[in-house]
């Protein structure tokens, strides 16, 4: 459920093909401020591509994506990306940077004062449940998968962007840590009021996090609605995903 009706991102009939292959086609939908939109789909369904169209890692071959009412193609791409936090699977952390430098990356790119960056980094580490004294000087390879992911979330939040893009951030975690992080992240998201686009192939995760679920199949958005609406959808792909929710025993 959108918390208000202000629009964060709009897709207008967006298609993208690369090397004569269609990646996504005819996407038209709206992302509202403060909502957590989960893009759900199988591998290769176009959900990651859709997400990357928002921060212009991809540019539409047809149609346009509006961020804050302005087409992404008219944004300075660097400015646009610094307004959007980006979290990908754990490998996205820079292995040669300490946790402190990783988290402080965007602020330092934005030329914040070192003291200011440090305060911000410490605040964020606390926010994601890592003791700054203990973790700030460590390197990513000295952390567990869950800790790395917390650092990833802190890094994305560093410059206080209004929006976060998250590409299967909890994908590589064990199920217990994963659930823990999902719940913590949900609280965090609601508390901070960030607009979040979250990509996953895990329907359970979608139900935990989403205010709305967008189901992708074959490069198209085949269904968009709340969890309730999803549960009652008759689309074959939605039914296929709902099958996964049934207990195995």
């Amino acid at each position: 459920m959108p918390q208000n009706n202000e629009i964060a991102v709009e897709f207008h009939d967006v298609s993208l093909s690369r090397n004569h292959r269609s990646m996504v086609s005819n996407l038209s939908f709206t992302i509202f401020r403060g909502e957590a939109l989960v893009l759900l789909g199988r591998s290769g369904s176009g959900k990651t591509t859709t997400m990357k169209l928002i921060n212009r890692l991809f540019t539409p071959t047809q149609g346009e994506v509006l961020f804050d009412g302005i087409p992404t193609t008219q944004w300075d791409e660097i400015k646009l990306r610094r307004r959007i936090g980006y979290v990908i699977q754990e490998t996205g952390l820079f292995p040669h940077f300490t946790v402190e430098r990783n988290v402080g990356l965007v602020p330092s790119l934005e030329d914040w004062k070192p003291k200011h960056i440090k305060t911000r980094v410490y605040t964020l580490l606390q926010l994601v449940g890592l003791d700054p004294e203990q973790f700030a000087q460590r390197y990513p390879h000295e952390l567990s998968g869950g800790q790395r992911q917390r650092v990833g979330v802190a890094r994305a939040l560093a410059a206080d962007p209004p929006m976060l893009l998250m590409d299967e951030p909890f994908g590589a975690l064990d199920p217990i840590t994963r659930l823990e992080l999902q719940q913590e992240f949900k609280h965090l998201q609601q508390e901070l009021g960030k607009t979040v686009v979250f990509v996953t192939h895990d329907i359970q995760e979608a139900f935990v996090l989403a205010s709305r679920i967008g189901l992708m199949h074959g490069g198209e958005l085949v269904m968009l609605g709340t969890s309730d609406e999803f549960l009652h959808s008759q689309h074959p792909e939605a039914l296929a995903f709902l099958q996964c929710l049934k207990p195995a025993l």
Binding site: I78, Y86, I88, T91, P95
Partner: protein, 213 residues
């Protein structure tokens, strides 16, 4: 045999002089080749259409027999002739390939998800290169410099044929005088220098290579 007759002692003053000449030749050429090769290697990661031509030229240069190259340079003005200039020029040409190729491979080999995370967070290409790609590729780049240095130390012995001095001088004199000791007086120090250089650059490489995965 008296201790003073041992060839490494007997020829010590000459060995020292030629070793210094040798080091000078190699240091200058590797220095210049590094300054040219690393930027070229970076360039071809950005301008992919230049990749093939640059690598093919560097590759071809590498295949010219060194003695022939030194000979071919004799009639060339400025960079050619006899003495140290053509020797340094030829050594630079031989050193370029490993340095360019390793710079290229090192940077291309950086985990694409790391590069994409950087881009996605709004790093400019320059920031990505200087803060992420080069530091992460540093181990591979230095390995290229190391190979170039070891090759250069070997090839520099041949530069004595065009009057560039260096340890090759003792070797060539030994060959014409059929004096094995003189040949060894040039060859052994050259081998020792190569091993030491290999070890030293390898050590730096180890220090600068990113730990972790």
């Amino acid at each position: 045999m008296k201790f003073n007759d041992f060839f490494l002692i007997k020829y010590a003053p000459e060995i020292l002089q030629h070793t210094l000449e040798h080091l000078w030749l190699v240091a200058i050429s590797i220095g210049i080749a590094t300054l040219v090769g690393i930027p070229l290697g970076i360039l071809i990661t950005r301008q992919t259409n230049l990749r093939q031509p640059v690598l093919i030229i560097a590759n071809t240069l590498q295949t010219i027999p060194s003695l022939a190259l030194f000979g071919l340079l004799i009639p060339v003005p400025v960079i050619g002739g006899i003495g140290t200039n053509p020797a340094i020029f030829a050594l630079i040409l031989y050193s370029l390939l490993p340095i360019i190729r390793n710079t290229y491979t090192g940077i291309i080999g950086v985990d694409p998800t790391i590069r994409e995370a950087g881009r996605g967070m709004g790093m400019t290409d320059r920031q990505l290169l200087l803060q992420v790609e080069i530091p992460l590729a540093m181990g591979v780049i230095l390995a290229g410099v190391r190979v170039a240095t070891v090759i250069g130390i070997g090839i520099a012995t041949i530069a004595a044929a065009i009057g560039a001095g260096g340890l090759g001088e003792l070797i060539f004199r030994g060959i014409s005088a059929v004096n094995d000791q003189l040949i060894l007086a040039g060859a052994i120090p050259a081998a020792v220098i190569a091993l030491l250089a290999d070890f030293a650059i390898g050590w730096i490489e180890g220090r600068l290579t990113i730990k972790g995965k």
